[in-house]
Amino acid sequence: MDLCELRKKLDGGDIGAVELTKEYLDRIKRFDGEINSYITVCEAEAIAQAEAAQQVIDKGGSKPMTGIPLSVKDNICTNGVRTTCASRMLEDHIPIYDASAVSRLKNENFVMLGKTNMDEFAMGGSSQTSYFGGPKNPYNTGYVTGGSSGGAAASVAAGLCAAALGSDTGGSVRQPSAFCGVTGLKPTYGTVSRWGLIAFASSLDQIGVCALSAADAGYVLNSICGRDCNDATTSPIPSGGYTSAVGSDISGIRIGVPKEFLDGSTDEVKAAVLEAAEYYRSLGCTVKECSLPSLEYAVSAYYLISSAEAASNLSRFDGIKYGHRSGLGEDYNELIKSSRSEGFGREVKRRIMLGNYALCSGYYDAYYNNARRIRTQIRKEYADIFSECDVILTPTAPSPAYRIGVQENDPVKMYQADICTVTVNIAGLPAISTTCGYSAEGMPIGMSLIGRAFDEKTIIAVCDRFERDHERRECVL
């Protein structure tokens, strides 16, 4: 049942908001011990919110999200509910304000089931760097969920929420969605306010949605998008109406397939993506090969920019105003070093170190500034492609989900696996990932559709069309 239908059933009285929430809470109790998609479950709050939502519904005043139970990634601030970033640093951190995305949902009386697991400070592609232990893939609990929004994607895949808010800095909504066989939407930079999203890399971060379908993802986005006076980087361009093209004829749409993205992918992934291209061709879309020549620089540029910003963004964690405060350290300098060294995990430390390397004198121009030049170049190359195409089709990841414990200790390999997703953030574009096949091991394979800036509507419609003709395999818990 999609969210539109759920809305009708809630409004029509076929389903009660409290019963619906209790059903999800019950599933969380039954299954999340194994999946570990939630860090914090808000049972009492969720029921109270559902009761409030039901009252609104009973009065006939429901809004699109009223009574719909969502999960929220644990790097999105929730007033009075602990927000940990899956880090020891913020293990007990209770924000005193709501992220704008959350307050918009609260204005519609949504239900927040809890806060989902993730890579520590959203730095990773497996969610295994979580201080609270990594989540497990609902398709096969021996496999990673992907990351960093691994908990969000797993919570959707396992039916532990109706949809989920995640965040995407370099693929963190799309890649776990691909790994967990759900749909992940990363909006154009500036579409959703970052106010209250605990910053990883400010110029790349964007709140996104994991859902069971493209239409659902667009449905949720409609309620969280738009200019926010709290975030100067939100766009003044009018937002919303993201599902308005769903169901429309997509023949004539020009789909570009950049050859560089397929080169590094496994045969299974390549075959699944090319098959999807054939499917679109059969619908009357134009499918043509295109090129993003600077892709080879993308991973390095992405890691330099994101780590530089992260090093600065994470400097505020010193244990004094909030966060983990060490018992060691006689003076200020010693105290903050111990607090940070105890509070941050290894991957976070690597990124901070790398970021300071990129920014420190002597290296700044060769690394950080060159990464910024590459960013300009990649944006230009995308603009070139979009002068001839409406949508770009790529794999979401070079391979499907892998076994837990395989890649985590090889940072370079982990970083290189982000090749398919990072350019979208570098260029600030919208992209949506959906399942386009399954591996021999039965793990989902994801493809991504990238759109022009602020043209979420088109990629959602194109993605929706595919989803209607390709059945999603339910995961068996």
Binding site: C77, S312, I336
Partner: protein
């Protein structure tokens, strides 16, 4: 050996905005600990800065006040360092593209001091040392108070030039409503970069940076101390160390300050949370139109149009309110010189004596102008005019009525005068005789006696005329 000092300044000024630079907390001095703080200015996770238009406007005005170019494009950067008064562990500032560039101010002697740039940044919080527990207590009320930093070229060659420059900057910023420029409260803070080199040399020496200068006087003393200190080092064959030093007013010396961060690598990079700011030509022009007449411009008007001596003009314009008062008075009666004399004489004297401010006086600029007019047209004497000012200062009132009530209106008919003069000359026959025999100095004495005899309404011009006749 005597050396040539080379000095440049960095001046931080707190802007007179209503709210802080990146959040909506009130911008105000003092207050109980952490009461003017929000998630933004205390750097809580997930928060983002929101640039205050008023801060940009005032920074542009500071540019206009110092002959800078106000740039259509300016942007923000992060300056990264750890210090407990800086909750985000970076200061948002303008590094690459400051709002104002290439200005200047001429100091006494006509020398031009170049201003390299003016940029916007945020102030840090305050640390109070708790000696009882041996800790510091961080208060973030001041975090995010908008600052501009004015950076000069190293164009100063003496303490006097620096003092004149700082005085002018403070005056101009106050006039423009940019900053209240209270050095003692820290709303204007001057850091002095100073080095010395042998006279005639073109190569600058190693500089020291002096902080904690909270008056123009301290600046002069600290510079003199530093010249002395560095000279002694060079004379002794030593080398000046590049460091930051703190001026101690009580000891009148400077001592090295511990550095904020050993590494000293601020890792500046463009602030990703704040889009660069575009000021259109119309925006810039609109801000320029809001600029009031500045002290040096007023001073020029006073000398050129009102014919005042340069010294008087600069005294009148030192304080904006004082100068505003003069302007209003001058507008009501064009007795420019007389009004100026009264303001710089009796009014200033009374203000000093009572420790009060021109904005608090009981008479209006028009009333002062009227008093000046009475003196100028001979209705009252200049001495009486001062007394009228003094009476108005104490109790207020209309100057002409005061003159009448106190009998200050000068006699205009000389009919009774001969009699009085004869009496005075008779009483001072000895002096009168000596004067006639050539002791010219005694005229003043006789004149004084005559004025006394005539009372409050004495008309010095008429008395002088009558005396001259009689003593021929």
């Amino acid at each position: 050996m005597r050396y040539q000092p080379v000095i440049g300044l960095e001046i931080h000024c707190e802007l007179l905005t209503n709210s802080k630079v990146f959040c909506t907390c009130q911008n105000e001095f003092g207050g109980s600990e952490n009461t003017r703080v929000c998630p933004r200015c205390s750097g809580m996770p997930g928060t983002l800065p929101l640039l205050n238009q008023g801060a940009v406007r005032l920074a542009a005005k500071a540019g206009f006040a110092t002959n800078c170019t106000v740039n259509g494009y300016s942007s923000f950067d992060r300056k990264n360092y750890f210090y407990p008064d800086l909750p985000k562990a970076y200061q948002i500032t303008q590094f690459e593209h400051p709002i104002c560039t290439d200005g200047h101010i001429d100091v006494a002697g006509g020398k031009r001091i170049r201003i390299n740039r003016i940029h916007i940044e945020e102030d840090a919080g305050k640390l109070v040392h708790d000696d009882y527990e041996g800790v510091s207590l961080a208060d973030y009320n001041r975090c995010g108070v908008p600052l501009i930093e004015i950076v000069t070229e190293p164009d100063f060659r003496s303490a006097e030039e620096v003092q004149d420059f700082v005085t002018q900057i403070a005056q101009r910023l106050k006039y423009a409503g940019v900053c209240d420029a209270r050095m003692e409260q820290g709303s204007l803070r001057v850091d002095v970069n100073i080095s010395i080199m042998p006279f005639g040399s073109e190569e600058f020496g190693t500089r020291a940076e002096i902080k904690n200068l909270n008056s123009v006087k301290s600046i002069g003393r600290a510079i003199e101390y530093e010249i002395q200190r560095q000279s002694e080092i060079l004379d002794g064959g030593g080398k000046v160390v590049q460091e930051t030093r703190r001026y101690n007013e009580n000891r009148d010396d400077t001592k090295p300050l511990r550095s904020k961060e050993e590494a000293h690598d601020y890792r500046y990079f463009p602030e990703p949370d704040i889009p660069p700011v575009l000021l259109s030509e119309e925006d810039i022009e609109a801000i320029r139109k809001e600029m009031p007449e500045l002290p040096h411009e007023r001073s020029k008007r006073y000398t050129e149009e009102y014919g005042l001596p340069a010294d008087d003009a600069s005294l009148l314009t030192a304080q904006k309110e004082f100068s505003d008062f003069y302007d209003e008075a001058a507008a009501s009666e064009p007795e420019y010189r007389m009004i100026s004399n009264l303001m710089l004489g009796e009014v200033s004297h009374l203000l000093n004596e009572t420790g009060s401010d021109i904005t608090e006086v009981k008479f209006s600029p028009a009333e002062l102008a009227k008093t000046a007019k009475l003196a100028a047209d001979g209705t009252v004497s200049k001495g009486a005019a001062k007394e009228i000012v003094s009476i108005m200062f104490k109790d207020g009132g209309d100057p002409r009525r005061i003159a009448q009530e106190h009998g200050f209106i000068m006699d205009t008919d000389a009919s009774g005068l001969d009699e009085v003069i004869d009496k005075v000359l008779a009483e001072n026959a000895d002096a009168a005789e000596k004067y006639k025999n050539g002791n010219a100095k005694l005229f003043g004495f006789i004149m004084g006696q005559a004025i006394k005899a005539c009372g409050k309404s004495a008309n010095p011009a008429l008395i002088k005329e009558a005396l001259n006749k009689k003593l021929q």
